[in-house]
């Protein structure tokens, strides 16, 4: 895979990635302890079978419609567009999904797969708690035992979601190793899976992890981009000029981007968490300031030191507080198909308030990163253009964090 302009002029068949062993160029793959190689193969085979199975596809679609409430609206943020004074900004309203974020698209797909594979127990990792809640929700509905691993520090910052998961019948296990955040929750879930491969299905919440997860999660989330494409053609009569999404692991971004990868006229912008600023080193932006390495079963861009140790990340948003990123994003960066940038905690907070005040929509702090960049981009593009921001989640879970930052006691 080359990132020269020569190569990008040749049309790439994006649907043919990853290869059979999960590689996107040099990224992806299956870097796991031997015990997991057999269950990963079993999973890849089951997924290959069911993704083509009309009954499975029909059940996924009907759940997306009747349980999640899809299609999610594509909403023209007219007042915010006017105040910004640039391109028309559309919001893909994943915040209106059942459980309040895009995460449920994927947990429905994986839980249906788990059920068909005869697994009786599902496990998950969670950062902000959105994926944990989405997993606990589908587990409750399908009658599956559910264990969610969550960093002890994240449990502190996301108490309402912890209680939601427990109400739904899930066991929430605090992870006290390492940095006590999302990456450590992922480690712990992997260890659980190694020990319980016979009856357990690991529902990974993002487009990271070993093959087939980055591909499978992408496929389930691509419903976002497919709907957006149809909706844009219906309201604007053309494709958008740009798509903007926040990137932690990158599942909402790849879900929006993927159906547009072959459309050269559509620019793609992934927005990482700049934390206190890239220059301070206190951020969670591996694509902007990291380098390639191997973590959590795949090769991708990572935040790491010169000894190959994963270093601590910082973001105001627990859901973006992850030192790696999905391997397909790493590849899209290298081949220059998508642009990855970052915004700071402060910029995200500003956008959080701007959207809340001008549109009556309280966005998740993760999403606020995409909104902050969209504002800049809309001005650059000018009034004749249009862009879509993935409004990946609602912000109710974050009001405590916002209040604390602003010195307000609730």
């Amino acid at each position: 895979m080359s990132n020269t302009s020569e190569a990008t002029r040749q049309p790439i068949d994006f649907a043919s990635f990853p290869d059979a062993r999960g590689h996107f160029g040099k990224y992806g793959g299956q870097f796991v302890p031997e015990t997991l190689m057999a269950p990963l193969r079993e999973l890849a085979e089951a997924y290959a079978r069911y993704r083509e199975d009309p009954e499975f596809v029909a059940e996924f679609q009907s759940d997306c419609k009747d349980f999640v409430g899809r299609p999610s609206p594509l909403y023209l943020a007219a007042r915010w567009t006017r105040e910004t004074g640039g391109a028309r900004i559309y919001l893909k309203r994943e915040d209106l999904n059942h459980t309040g974020a895009h995460k449920v698209n994927n947990t429905i797909g994986q839980a249906l797969l788990a059920k068909r594979m005869g697994k009786t127990r599902v496990i998950a990792e969670t950062g902000a708690g959105q994926h944990g809640v989405a997993t606990a929700t589908v587990a409750a509905r399908l009658g599956l035992e559910c264990v969610v691993y969550m960093g002890a520090d994240d449990i502190q910052r996301q108490a309402p979601n912890v209680y939601r998961m427990r109400l739904l019948g899930a066991e929430v296990v605090p992870v006290t190793s390492g940095s006590r955040t999302l990456k450590d929750a992922l480690n712990e879930a992997m260890r659980d899976w190694v020990a319980h491969v016979d009856d357990t299905f690991y529902i990974i919440g993002t487009v990271a992890g070993p093959h087939p997860y980055p591909m499978m999660v992408r496929d389930f989330q691509s419903i976002i981009g497919r709907e957006t494409r149809e909706q844009m053609l219906a309201v604007e009569g053309r494709l958008p000029d740009a798509l903007v999404a926040c990137v932690g692991g990158g599942s909402n971004a790849i879900g929006l981007f993927h159906p547009f990868l072959g459309d050269e006229s559509v620019s793609l912008y992934g927005v990482e968490a700049g934390g206190h600023g890239i220059a301070t080193g206190e951020h969670a932006a591996p694509l902007s300031a990291g380098r390639p390495g191997v973590l959590h079963g795949n090769r991708t861009y990572l935040m790491e030191d010169d000894n190959g140790q994963i270093i601590g990340t910082h973001s105001v948003s627990a859901g973006l507080d992850y030192p790696g990123v999905g391997p397909e994003h790493a590849w899209l960066k290298d081949i220059n198909r998508a642009v990855y940038t970052s915004v700071t905690d402060d910029e995200a907070m500003k956008a959080f308030h701007a959207l809340t005040r001008t549109e009556g929509i309280i966005p998740a702090l993760e999403t606020a990163h995409a909104l902050a960049y969209a504002e800049k981009l809309a001005r650059e593009l000018g009034p004749d253009r249009c862009l879509v921001v993935n409004l990946s989640g609602r912000g109710d879970k974050d009001i405590q964090t916002v209040a604390e930052r602003e010195g307000i006691e609730l």
């Binding site: 870097f31 302890p33 190689m37 190793s177 010169d306």
Partner: protein, 273 residues
């Protein structure tokens, strides 16, 4: 002949099972490791396995995770570990040393540099826990080029087809994981089932087969030793470091006592060829 092959050949002639203790390099502090390596050899270790500390050891249970965290507090990196092997070699040119660790530190150092410096330091082989044979082509080229052995895990979940693939790529010895789980599990070892799998592996390779994960005392070491060519003991030793923080002498003493107990139990349980 590699140091590992020679050591295993001699043991086989004596009808003895190899004892392979594991400790995480730099735990609890950098100065502890090299003297401990010598002490373990004096207590009956045949091969040493040295863990390269990593921030995210997904194949390890809490005992070795915490060992990694203690080592990383002093910043022990992969080059420091190679330095420890080099110092060990100043006094011991015979005992094979195998590194056990994860892919990312090797990836950052660079495969060629790792293979070259490992060889120069006196390392004999490497077991990279999250590098299955499917992903190893490039690394293996460099390791083999320097004459280092690539050691692979075989797990209870490994299919027959993969067992053959692993046996074809493996050098030094094959490491059979005795439980579905991470390192340091307690009990629940099924010696008969492990023995059956070891036999199957022996029909596929001429390499020695070692067994590890969850071997916590001399009795279990002897029972596993009766069905395998080597037993690997890690968390049981590292627990002695954890339990005696601040008292290095006592930690070393308890580790060497356990190694010696296991050595006696293994030798008592084996019938000379």
């Amino acid at each position: 002949m590699s140091r590992l092959a020679e050591r295993f050949r001699n043991l086989q002639h004596q009808g003895r099972t190899a004892l392979i203790p594991y400790v995480t390099a730099g735990d609890p502090e950098p100065g502890f490791t090299v003297p401990l390596m010598h002490a373990m050899v004096a207590s009956g270790a045949d091969v040493l396995e040295l863990g390269v500390p990593f921030s995210d050891p997904i194949g390890d249970g809490p005992v070795i995770q915490q060992a990694c965290e203690r080592a990383l507090r002093h910043g022990t990196g992969i080059r420091d570990v190679l330095g420890m092997v080099r110092r060990f070699r100043e006094q011991d040119a015979e005992t094979p040393v195998v590194l056990m660790g994860y892919m990312n530190p090797v990836e950052i150092m660079g495969y060629a540099a790792f293979a070259r410096e490992a060889l120069e330091s006196g390392v004999d082989g490497a077991l990279i826990v999250d590098m299955p044979p499917e992903e190893m082509a490039e690394v293996a080229e460099y390791l083999e080029g320097e004459g280092l052995d690539s050691i692979f895990l075989v797990a209870p979940t490994t299919t027959e087809e993969r067992m053959q693939l692993i046996c074809d790529k493996a050098r030094g010895f094959v490491y059979y994981v005795s439980v579905k789980g991470v390192t340091g599990g307690d009990g629940g070892l099924d010696v008969e089932a492990v023995g059956g799998r070891v036999q199957r592996l022996r029909s596929m390779t001429g390499l020695p087969v070692g067994v590890g994960f969850g071997i916590s005392d001399a009795d279990m070491a002897a029972r596993m030793g009766a069905v395998a060519d080597a037993v690997i003991v890690g968390s049981a030793l590292v627990r002695r470091i954890e339990a005696n923080q601040g008292d290095a002498e006592r930690a070393r003493c308890e580790i060497t006592t356990l190694v010696a107990d296991m050595r006696r139990a293994l030798d008592a349980g084996t019938v000379p060829a």
